[in-house]
Symmetry: C2
Subunit: 234 residues, 2 copies
Amino acid sequence: MTSVAETPSPKIPLTPRRVFQAAIALADGRGIGALTMRNLAAALDVEAMSLYHHVANKEAMLDGVVDEVVQEIERELGGFDTDATPATWQSTLRDRILTARRVMLRHRWAPAVIETRKAATPTTLRYMDSLLGIMFSGGFTPDLGHHAMHALGSRALGFSHELFQPDDSGDDESTDLMRELAPRLPNIVTMMTEVAHDDPDSTIGWCDDETEFEFGLDLLLDGLADRLTSVRQT
Amino acid sequence: MTSVAETPSPKIPLTPRRVFQAAIALADGRGIGALTMRNLAAALDVEAMSLYHHVANKEAMLDGVVDEVVQEIERELGGFDTDATPATWQSTLRDRILTARRVMLRHRWAPAVIETRKAATPTTLRYMDSLLGIMFSGGFTPDLGHHAMHALGSRALGFSHELFQPDDSGDDESTDLMRELAPRLPNIVTMMTEVAHDDPDSTIGWCDDETEFEFGLDLLLDGLADRLTSVRQT
DNA sequence: ACCTGAACACCGTTCAAGT
DNA sequence: ACCTGAACACCGTTCAAGT
């Protein structure tokens, strides 16, 4: 009975990090809706109430989960240090944000969770500090860097909230509703027909997320480069 | 007993719109957390289950609430029609979005609710159609209009998600945490000290939301104007 | 057609008790 | 110190019954 062949899980002591990582695995696998304290405990082979010895409550658990995801960005980048120069700040910033986006695409529930957080987590703050550092090495004033962080908003972490949700269901009533509304939406209809025509692979309601994200990001980065020139000439 | 002096509410029949408007009043007054089906029913002097005769479920109720808020934008604008021209598209778009923002400031819970919606509501679609119309009258191609709508994202409705939440509590542990993290956040510290210095009214963590929103909006609109010129020259 | 009461299947969380 | 079982105060929602 003292055999080595037991399930190893009950032996490993619970820690906050193990809780966060199990939560990420649970959300990845079964969706954010399945991330309840009870399900999370079950995934860790433990009773729900045991979790409260390691995290204060569900909100604190979600904060930890977000921090863990941003740590994944940090690992992907090989750390937050850079050697950006006045010549390379824009591409460095761009690459960094697109890397963050790649991590978010692995955890598609993460943006929604981040949007519900009240304060930035420690690693998120260090990530933001690194973005500011890149801007400063590009010659940004503190004031312009401040504006830039606000202007980027959640895009700095690799996502942005779309009003236009690409209705990938495509089926049933949503299409019916759209057809009913279409007569009052002449410009959207024009846009969709033209965009669909330009890109034969596209379906109604379908958009290339990557292209759109990069378009918006470059709009902001080019704009910041322009403001930077104005500041320098003053 | 057939006196006229009774509470009038029970006489008025319940309708979807009355439900939505009561929900908005509830969220305005007691916060979005208090917007439960039970509380909403109580506010309408009715049992919780009566609501289900007028809205399919809570999600449908929230969709209705969002649509009602966007209708408030429409009223504020005196309708969605415009007479924008190639010369005025940018300022027309800007004014329209800042009007939307003013409505959002009256219902500060609304952005968070909108972020949880799966599809745009009918009035939101008509609002977006009107923005596209302004762009087209400014000479946008359907393709550029499409990119522009994605690039604006939720900013089109007057809000954007900030990573930097201005920690207006100012008190207790959050300040302690910040002080502990500060040594690893040299650029944020530099930024905050400088920005605080420039603006004597500012406190650590405080930002002028209006200024920041307009900065980001103008960055995008100027960028779009630039792309528009490129498209024309092709 | 519209409203109701009781009940169901969940939540997050507290508490007193175990080891 | 860490984990547990039972319970509490909520949720959204179903159902059968009322008028």
